[in-house]
Symmetry: C2
Subunit: 335 residues, 2 copies
């Protein structure tokens, strides 16, 4: 039945321990010269009053930044959850926490999120950008003291100070095309975000290079990277009847969209149409047939991102290992 007390402040603690506010602060933080007896007294007073330092005030004074901003593209993609988890684990160890915003593949919102984080006194920003030369290019020079790490995108050399963490796209594309080639495929279709949004520019380049090298007919199609967008795109292409199509998509999440499209057209994945996805989400093994996918340790990705944010130094480009998990969503075309 205690009446709704006001917030208990350091002043209250000091009063109760009969010392100055300064001494109380020192005692609790173990900074200045404080007699052991005093420390004890302050500690007890703090405990009795259930004192908790207001971290807004603390940070205002110290300039310390214990919040990190994360801007992800899509709150519905399980991929990001694991990345967040990796980040969160490390952040937790450091007593930091994450502010999570979603750009929803919208340049406006990406810009708004960046601005917000700028005023928030954040210790660093991790961003999965939705395109090159987006709002980030403007934002960066205005916040020269905030470390930035971009993940899941190829590094944009035009913005010097950002580190990059992502799958090794070169290896990924090579693995995928190799997998198709040895199964007798003569071509492949790489699914990417629409022109202005594509952040993984290097992937396309590598794709064409490998296709040329191995004599495959490489096609790049662009469509909105959500379930509906990919499903529609896949339906159109399969309906066009240009022969067997092998899709390489960005995420298992989108691989599932191809399954949907195939089912609607009465085609069978792994026989009439082939899919190679990225990510290896937990449910992908349970699809029928299982989804062949490029596996990446997502938590480790998050861990790297957080490491780069909290120990800033020279910009770094981390390419994480990728391996192909074959589950049968790619047809054998050579009998």
């Amino acid at each position: 039945m205690t009446p709704a007390r006001k917030r208990v402040t350091l002043r209250d603690v000091a009063a109760r321990a009969e010392v100055s506010v300064a001494q109380a602060s020192f005692a609790l933080n173990g900074r200045g010269r404080v007699a052991p007896a005093t420390i004890e007294r302050v500690r007890r007073a703090a405990a009795e009053l259930d004192y908790q330092a207001d971290s807004r005030a603390r940070r205002l004074r110290t300039g310390e930044r214990s919040a990190y901003g994360v801007i992800i593209r899509n709150m519905r993609n399980p991929f990001f959850l694991d990345v967040l988890r990796g980040m969160e684990v490390r952040a937790h160890r450091q007593g930091a926490f994450l502010i999570i915003l979603s750009s929803d593949y919208d340049v406006e919102r990406e810009g708004a999120a960046l601005r917000r984080l700028g005023t928030e006194g954040v210790g660093g920003v991790a961003i999965a950008p939705i395109g090159r030369h987006g709002p980030l290019t403007e934002w960066l020079p205005r916040h020269p003291d905030i470390p930035v790490v971009a993940f899941n995108c190829t590094s944009d050399p035009s913005v010097g100070r950002v580190s990059t963490v992502g799958p090794d796209d070169g290896v990924a594309i090579t693995l995928a095309l190799e997998h198709l080639r040895v199964r007798g495929h003569r071509g492949a279709t790489l699914v990417m975000a629409p022109e202005g949004l594509a952040a993984d520019w290097g992937r396309e380049e590598e794709f064409y290079r490998r296709c040329a090298e191995w004599g495959l007919a490489g096609t790049v199609v662009r469509c909105p990277l959500d379930h509906a967008g990919v499903a529609r795109m896949a339906t159109e292409r399969m309906g066009a009847g240009t022969g067997h199509e092998a899709f390489v998509v960005n995420s298992d999440y989108l691989g599932a969209a191809v399954y949907d499209a195939a089912r609607a057209l009465d085609l069978r994945v792994g026989r009439d149409v082939s899919v190679i996805a990225h990510d290896d989400l937990p449910t992908s093994a349970l699809l029928a047939p299982g989804l062949t996918t490029l596996r990446l340790d997502r938590e480790s990705l998050g861990d790297h991102v957080m490491r780069l944010l909290s120990e800033p130094g020279e910009p770094e480009t981390v390419r994480l290992p990728v391996r192909l998990v074959d589950r049968g969503s790619v047809a054998r075309l050579d009998g």
Copy 2:
């Protein structure tokens, strides 16, 4: 090539516009009496200097709280992503943002997360608690002014001021058992978190009540609610060979674990074993057979949570509608 400037403060803006700091603040916030000409001058100065108010300082002064804390149980469950998205959408409209922490089904971490949010000057806390009488019971009276909404758990009448949002468990259980009954099942197995952790106590009660009413043999098993835990539990029970087993689990995510276990034992879901899950995640339609599941609008859940946080009033219990999506993971036992 501008040298790394110091942070631009309101004082700088005021100086440049040749007014007092107070007047500058008023001009930008449209509060006091300011001559139109002055407003214009201050605005321009702010724009030229690219001034952004430091929100830590602002909030320290105003006591305004534009951050909301979310404590989820498991960063790997896609369920929470949609909830977060629902929250984020509404938060974004209000200019607020989310601080996301994960309890990882660990009471210690749950407590730590709560304490952290307490010092963070957060405007409200949304929590998916991992058990009754957890750290929340201690925390609540210490922070009488912070609204709290619990989601995905049955309301605990012992803590008066928290609102609750979740699926209508009564309807959910009824739908599930009805589905089993009309397919000739004589029993059902409800999978729940271990004793100390179960936060959805009402579900169990309802389960027993319905089973009794319809003459079903109801069993409650408890195991860690992650993929491995459920897979192990399911393997054990199916291996015991006590006849056909029909599992009712908390989440599609865990339903998939039963599929795994069944496959390992060479049993077929929908024939040798039955599963009803909750959530209807996007991939569940693609399993073979499709997962029969209880659908809930997760974004709307998040929206409700955020609404209750930002417009606090009398504690409220929101039960969201649930409907059963039949995809064939329940066997027909009566031929």
